[in-house]
């Protein structure tokens, strides 16, 4: 399941909902991305996105993860709008019978999301506002999955 929302999320409640009524799950991995203040340089973060395409991309990413690993459940929640240092930005949860699939799929979802889901961060700080530049390390992290896929 994927969700795009302004509101915060409750990690415990999300995981409880994901495993409610199920006894087949053996491993659950969660990742939470949060806003850093970068030693005072960031006072607020605006998250813009492309409504419609965001949901389409997150759904495609989730389907890709489910095609690669035997997941029993998966969840992506991404926030938009004005966020403050310390706030949650993104939640990824994966569930599988054994831990390897859940760990790998969670990392894959984050690497893939960072390079293809249409979100843009604008940081506001004492020095003014600036759009965050794409990190080349994110591209490298994403390529790793492509290479692995090609040799399989």
């Amino acid at each position: 399941m994927i969700r795009v929302q302004q509101a915060d999320f409750d990690i415990g409640a999300e995981i409880a909902a994901l495993k409610a009524g199920r006894s087949d799950i053996g491993a659950i991995v969660s990742f939470i991305g949060t806003v850093r203040d970068q030693h005072g340089a960031v006072e607020e973060m605006m998250l813009e996105h492309y409504p419609g395409m965001t949901e389409a991309e997150l759904t495609r990413i989730e389907q890709e993860a489910n095609a690669r690993w035997p997941l029993q459940a998966s969840l992506i929640v991404h926030r938009t709008g004005a966020l403050l240092p310390g706030d949650n930005i993104v939640l990824v949860v994966t569930a599988s019978e054994h831990r390897d699939a859940a760990f790998d799929a969670a990392r894959f979802l984050m690497d893939y999301l960072k390079t293809s889901a249409p979100f843009w961060k604008r940081e506001q700080g004492p020095g003014g506002a600036r759009w965050v530049e794409a990190d080349t390390k994110d591209g490298a992290a994403f390529s790793r999955w492509k290479k692995k896929h090609a040799t399989e």
Partner: protein, 83 residues
């Protein structure tokens, strides 16, 4: 067709969305960018580093050599920075 702009592409172009009807010779994303740049200094500035600008047709990422025929919605934006 409908054009959408996001993040600093939107700020520089000074517009978030518009309806356009490009001439017949504009067949690809790259040609559409060239056509947009000729419309005025805001667009010239927004697309100055056109090689870094990403494009999507009807909610799917495309390369600059993609054909635009039949597109309902085309979006231009900087490399994504979510997560």
């Amino acid at each position: 067709m409908r054009l959408l702009y996001f993040a600093w592409v939107k700020e520089k172009a000074g517009v978030a969305a518009e309806e356009i009807d490009p001439p017949a010779g504009v067949a690809t994303i790259a040609e559409l960018i060239d056509w947009l740049k000729a419309r005025g200094p805001e667009f010239e500035n927004a697309f100055a580093r056109s090689e870094v600008i990403c494009a999507a047709i009807d909610h799917a990422h495309v390369r600059h050599d993609a054909k635009i025929a039949g597109a309902r919605e085309i979006a231009f934006f900087p490399p994504v920075t979510g997560g």
